[in-house]
């Protein structure tokens, strides 16, 4: 019992540490990325004892600044809801990571530890439940601020998120059909198989169209450019316009955490998650028949690193897209979501089901 | 589900399929196709009725894992609902054209409402009963507000929706309690749970809440307060439909629930319903006395009529249930007739619905006045009309079951009701018209009125065939 709880605690801390670490890294990365793409230098001034480390010190100075700013609640606003909103947004964004597997089973001192904080047979539903609940955060922020911009932003954000949430779910149905489970760990394991002996059976290979749709819906779900109407800083600023200090910081972080979540989901569902091509529990088995033996711990570490690398890559890709594309107009956004993505994803479901049953 | 079971659901599938078709026809067909809309609705009803005819004589059977019962009782009610829906569609046609609400959704919602009502009558499971009620309620909520530019219609819809959803919530709570007590939502299982020695403690409050929910739909006092406002504000054809369809459906569901699932609690529910019947009759009649708006008067009259019907439930005998079925047929005919006249005469904007508007109607439109007169006489329960026969059987069954007091109260109430029904007659026949202008009435409505007059008189003189049919239908209820 003690061992189990310790293991759970360690896993949780590991996941949260990784996510929060990556979040703070992304705040810097976003600035650097935009600078590189716009031919600027980007954040590079903050320094500790003269050490600048490419501007990485900015992460700490930003955090400190956030903490020491005034915490402001608008006089006409609802104090309790105003405080609750960022808590809700941040809480549910972080909770989603409980079901993301970051490795197969780790055997330590004769005991098996599943490398997943919460082994749940309906894992993907858990993720959707958490992201749906997170919408409350943005909506409450909008209505509790007593500000027209915030109100509009909150409405837009919640309406956009619920619209694209449906598409996000519908695009995954095809994948779930193929793997026949809702368990993320099972899906991940199944992606270790090989197609025709050489091609890893990753989700993207089986459901390329589903992947594209999911990527788009996921980007919309994170409310980032080109889907950033709820917070378009040049027009309505957004649902958090009346927020300051770390309450704003919470929304800011939620943004990046959601980006990481989408990246992690893409990696887990479509790119094999912790699977490394040809790596099995006792080492590499290359298609030609070559075998490279590896120890258990090495394999586990390699797999966790693979997931980390994939997540990092997709975070970077999302940043790249964010700084490449211009913003949608609201009617375009809704038309795109309801009139193209949704019918397309439902079509995807039936085509997949049809083919699946034919091949059965 | 095997093909044999699917066959029994064909009438419902036809209705729902036609509803979807009508819904799509509205945006996807041109303006010229308006007539086709109601033709589709009526055709769907006719085909469904024919499909239902094929099931006659198959004998009672349970399908869907015991959820749905197809027997004489459900066939009778399905047939009744189809007639109500078909007549409502026909009655509505000219009215809708006049008011500019002749849209596909109207007929689609009528058909879904019909399907919901049928499910209520077929259901042998609380969940299915609930689903039936919801399908019916959602359709009627929208229908009540169908004239959306009209404030009264919107008010009617909103009141109905708010109170109705509250009643549904209470019903759902009752279902939860009964499920907790019996461990199942199926009627047979509930009955077994109540029969096995001691009655579970939760069953009684569950029954009470179920009665609240269903009582709301029937319009029993003290859950009647929505009826006058909703009936008055809703477009007249919708009022006509609501005053007969949902009421009959809720009574069917109530009968099934009480007789099939909770016979063990009969002493409790007869006592409760006795009180509700007395209150419903008395309050409905007393309030109808002072109405000057005909639609509102008919709404209170509908409340009172529900009280009469409840007398048969209280009797809790085979004769009582037979009388209920018989009276529902009569009630449907006379109420649809009365509302058919009201909606034909109400004029642009559905406004001419006051007693004064009926002054001298006998001279302006003798046939219409005569038809309305027959309907009113029947509603009052004057001999030689079906209304008299229905009441006679209802109250007679109560006397036979030993509820003499209830029967006396009911008879006294009938006498009271004569006053307001006759007041309208007086206006029609003994007052001068303020401005003489012949009233025109569309041919389909006229045909319905003529058939109605015939039916009411037939039922009043020779009720045997219908009574036998009702008695045969009731056999499924056990």
């Amino acid at each position: 019992m003690l061992f189990d709880v310790t293991a759970v605690l360690a896993k949780t801390l590991l996941v949260l540490g990784a996510v929060l670490g990556l979040t703070s890294l992304l705040t810097w990365m976003e600035r650097k990325q935009s600078a590189v793409m716009q031919d600027r230098l980007g954040a590079n001034r903050a320094s500790i004892l003269g050490v600048r480390a490419f501007g990485l010190v900015h992460i700490f100075s930003d955090a400190l600044k956030m903490f020491f700013k005034e915490d402001y609640v608008p006089p006409g606003g609802d104090r309790i809801l105003h405080t609750a909103a960022p808590c809700i947004a941040l809480f549910f964004a972080l909770m989603s990571f409980a079901v993301i597997p970051f490795g197969d089973t780790l055997t330590l001192a004769g005991r098996d530890i599943p490398l997943q904080v919460l082994p749940l047979n309906a894992g993907i539903l858990f993720v959707f439940a958490m992201t749906s609940l997170g919408i409350y955060g943005t909506f409450l922020a909008g209505i509790s601020s007593n500000n027209k911009y915030a109100f509009l932003g909150g409405l837009r954000a919640s309406s956009q998120m619920i619209s694209y949430e449906i598409t996000m779910g519908a695009t995954l149905i095809g994948l779930l059909m193929i793997f026949g489970t809702l368990d993320l760990q099972e899906i991940n394991r199944a992606q270790g198989d090989l197609l025709w002996g050489w091609l890893p059976k990753w989700g993207v290979v089986l459901q390329p169209f589903g992947f594209l749709l999911f990527l788009i819906a996921g980007m919309a779900e994170t409310k980032r450019v080109p889907f950033d109407l709820p917070e378009g800083e040049s027009e309505i600023v957004g649902y958090f316009v009346e927020y300051s200090s770390m309450k704003f910081g919470a929304f800011f972080m939620t943004d990046f955490i959601e980006t990481i979540l989408i990246a992690a989901l893409i990696a887990t569902l479509f790119f094999g998650g912790w699977q490394v091509p040809f790596l099995q529990s006792d080492g590499f088995h290359l298609p030609g028949g070559a075998h490279l033996a590896l120890g258990h711990l090495a394999v586990v570490l390699l797999q966790a690193a693979a997931l980390g690398l994939k997540v990092f890559f997709f975070c970077w890709l999302l940043l790249l897209i964010r700084w490449t594309l211009p913003r949608f107009r609201y009617d375009q956004l809704m038309r795109f979501g309801w009139k193209f993505l949704l019918p397309a994803s439902i079509l995807n479901i039936f085509v997949t089901a049809f083919v699946l049953l034919l091949l059965r | 589900m095997n093909p044999d079971e699917l066959f029994l659901l064909v009438p419902q599938s036809i209705l729902l399929g036609a509803a979807v078709l009508l819904m799509l026809m509205e945006p996807f067909s041109r303006q010229a196709g308006r007539r086709r809309l109601r033709m589709v609705a009526v055709a769907a009803v006719a085909v469904a009725a024919y499909a239902l005819r094929l099931q006659w004589g198959l004998g009672p059977r349970s399908i869907g894992g015991g959820m749905i019962r197809v027997d004489g009782f459900s066939l009778f009610f399905q047939w009744l609902f189809l007639v109500i829906t078909g007549l409502s569609a026909v009655l509505a046609a000219d009215f809708n054209q006049r008011e500019g609400i002749d849209r596909g959704e109207y007929y689609a919602l009528l058909l879904t409402a019909c399907s919901g009502m049928s499910l209520m009558a077929m259901s042998a499971d609380l969940i299915l009963t609930f689903i039936g009620i919801e399908i019916l309620s959602l359709s009627t909520y929208i229908l009540a507000g169908f004239k959306r530019r009209d404030i009264a219609s919107g008010e009617s819809s909103l009141k109905y929706f708010l109170l109705g959803s509250f009643a549904t919530a209470i019903l759902l709570y009752g279902i939860a309690l009964v499920y907790g007590a019996a461990g199942s939502t199926q009627y047979q299982a509930i009955r077994a749970a109540a029969a096995a020695g001691e009655v579970p403690a939760l069953l009684l409050p569950g029954l009470g809440l179920l009665l609240v929910g269903l009582g709301f739909k029937i319009g029993l006092v003290p859950f009647h307060s929505w009826i006058p406002d909703v009936y008055q504000g809703a477009p007249s054809p919708v009022t006509a439909f609501m005053s007969v369809g949902p009421k009959a459906a809720a009574i069917a569901a109530l009968l099934r629930l009480l007789v099939e699932a909770l016979p063990g609690l009969a002493p409790d529910w007869t006592r409760l319903l006795w009180l509700m019947a007395v209150l419903t009759m008395t309050l409905g009649n007393a309030a109808a006395l002072v109405q000057s708006n005909v639609k509102r008067m008919l709404a209170y009259s509908a409340i009172a009529q529900a009280g009469y019907i409840l007398v048969g439930v209280v009797a809790n005998t085979r004769e009582g249930f037979t009388a209920i079925l018989f009276y529902l047929v009569v009630y449907t005919v006379m109420n649809l007739m009365a509302f058919g006249v009201v909606l034909s005469l109400s004029g642009p904007g559905d406004r001419r619905v006051h007693l004064e508007d009926y002054a001298g109607l006998a001279r302006r439109a003798p046939f219409v006045a005569a038809a309305l007169g027959v309907a009113l006489l029947a509603l009052a329960g004057i001999p030689l009309t079906g209304g008299f026969m229905g009441k006679f059987f209802l109250f007679g069954s109560a006397v036979k079951a030993g509820f003499v007091g209830l029967a006396v109260i009911a008879v006294l109430n009938s006498v009271l009701s004569v006053y307001y029904y006759f007041r309208l007659l007086v206006y029609m026949y003994m007052k001068d018209a303020p401005q003489g202008g012949a009233e025109s009435i569309s041919r389909p409505v006229g045909a319905i009125l003529a058939i109605g007059v015939f039916l009411i008189l037939w039922l009043g003189v020779g009720p045997d065939r219908f009574l036998a049919l009702a008695g045969h239908s009731i056999l499924g209820l056990k």
């Binding site: 709880v5 949260l16 608008p74 808590c87 972080l94 919460l118 489970t181 919470a250 949704l342 | -």
Partner: protein, 117 residues
């Protein structure tokens, strides 16, 4: 192990982090009120009326469509996971279900419920 244990551990830790962030900012920052600061942010013009109140009808429609499709989705998830076992019967059943919802969607589309002009 009971799956509630990791869930509780995760929830407690996350709640702790969130509370730490919010509480720290409440206590660490300064708190100077000023009448100008207390007016809602609106481009510098004195603000008028109040926030909230009436909103575009489209949001209501969107919410209703969401409820319909989210319930549909809730049916699709277990269906997808069990499709191999259900076979063609399951395929046809779900097709009919989606077709009915699709008819409603087509209706909403054609009636202009999805227009944002």
């Amino acid at each position: 192990m009971n799956p509630l244990i990791p869930l509780a551990v995760m929830a407690l830790l996350v709640a702790g982090i969130v509370a730490l962030f919010i509480l720290a900012s409440v206590f660490l920052g300064p708190g100077k009120r000023h009448p100008v600061k207390d007016t809602p942010f609106e481009c510098g013009i004195p603000s008028e009326g109040f926030a909230g109140g009436r909103m575009h009808i489209g949001y209501y429609i969107m919410a209703m469509l969401f409820v319909v499709f989210d319930v549909e989705l809730a049916f699709l998830f277990p269906w997808a996971a069990a499709l191999r076992g259900l076979g063609w019967f399951g395929f046809v059943a779900m097709f009919l279900f989606i077709a009915v919802i699709g008819a409603g969607f087509a209706y909403a589309w054609k009636m202009g419920a999805l227009e944002w002009e």
